[in-house]
Symmetry: C2
Subunit: 206 residues, 2 copies
Amino acid sequence: MTSKRPSAAGQASVSQETVFQAALRCFYVHGYDGASMRDIAKAGGVTPAAIYHYYSSKQDLLMDIISRFMQRSIDTTRSAISDAGDDPAEQLFAAARSHVLWNASDVVSSFVVNSEIRSLEPHNRQRNIAQRDELQRMFDAVVESGAAEGVFATPWPREASRAVVTMCTAVAGWYKAAGPLSPGEIADRYGHMSLSLVGSGTQVQP
Amino acid sequence: MTSKRPSAAGQASVSQETVFQAALRCFYVHGYDGASMRDIAKAGGVTPAAIYHYYSSKQDLLMDIISRFMQRSIDTTRSAISDAGDDPAEQLFAAARSHVLWNASDVVSSFVVNSEIRSLEPHNRQRNIAQRDELQRMFDAVVESGAAEGVFATPWPREASRAVVTMCTAVAGWYKAAGPLSPGEIADRYGHMSLSLVGSGTQVQP
């Protein structure tokens, strides 16, 4: 039977990335409660012991998937805003654009991150809320600064900022690589639509 | 043991609504794959036989939940547009407003409908796509008609229309009854933000 054991080559050869990707795929297809550690091991072609080498529990795996994705969302947005200069219109265009590109680049993670908040244990949920707030506050700061400078006409900067983030995140729910528009074209249009939404008179050139 | 059986009063007294609500709650908390028929029976305080009296399978239950919600989304949007008169700006304001109110009124169903498309079997998935298309096409028709009349400046009516629907649907993901704004206030703001997004010069008074 030894030759049929999935990790016959030994646990040391199983990378954390293999385990991570197997869990991500299982949570995407079956949901967190619908996927057991046994399912994840089978999907990754590894032993349960190989999973426990890196993760203490299924919850630990989910939290790693969600927190890594959120941290990358935060870092990507921060870089986009920072690289865009001082103009709130340029900043919002860049932030919306990069948020669309990031979510379209990994629709599987985006779905799991946005559908399995329910499955986070209280401590992890608090950490997740903090990351979500950090991301949202970067958009809020840009929209509020544009509104304060009078370049964004929206009377509701907070609601407009949330609407921008949710519509850009939602691209992951319908984006298909085989669709007529490239991710870059979609991102450009979402950048412009975000400016319209906040009542910007500025036309930004991508 | 008879007195401990959940439906001791008899199957005839178990309503389809009880079964439907128990399944909805289980799918919301555990996901479709994570909730068994036994879990649903337990949650509803009914026997599995009572569930099978109304539904032939768990898939049948999920499809009833999703298709009922989608049909109500379609009907609500159609009424809103029809009651708004002939002006595309009034129509879009009313459609966005009603879509927000509808999703905020049932955040549990909205979540299940939008996270369990993956769990629909091919035939049901086709029916779901047809319902989603029907809803989206009503918004598309309004935005395209405004663009054709020159009252909406957006160069991308289809993308703008999809962005409106996704940002309004997403309200269900963050709306809290204890929040500072009432559903009506949120809906009004989303109506106005939808008009901004499509580049409408018209100010609609709610």
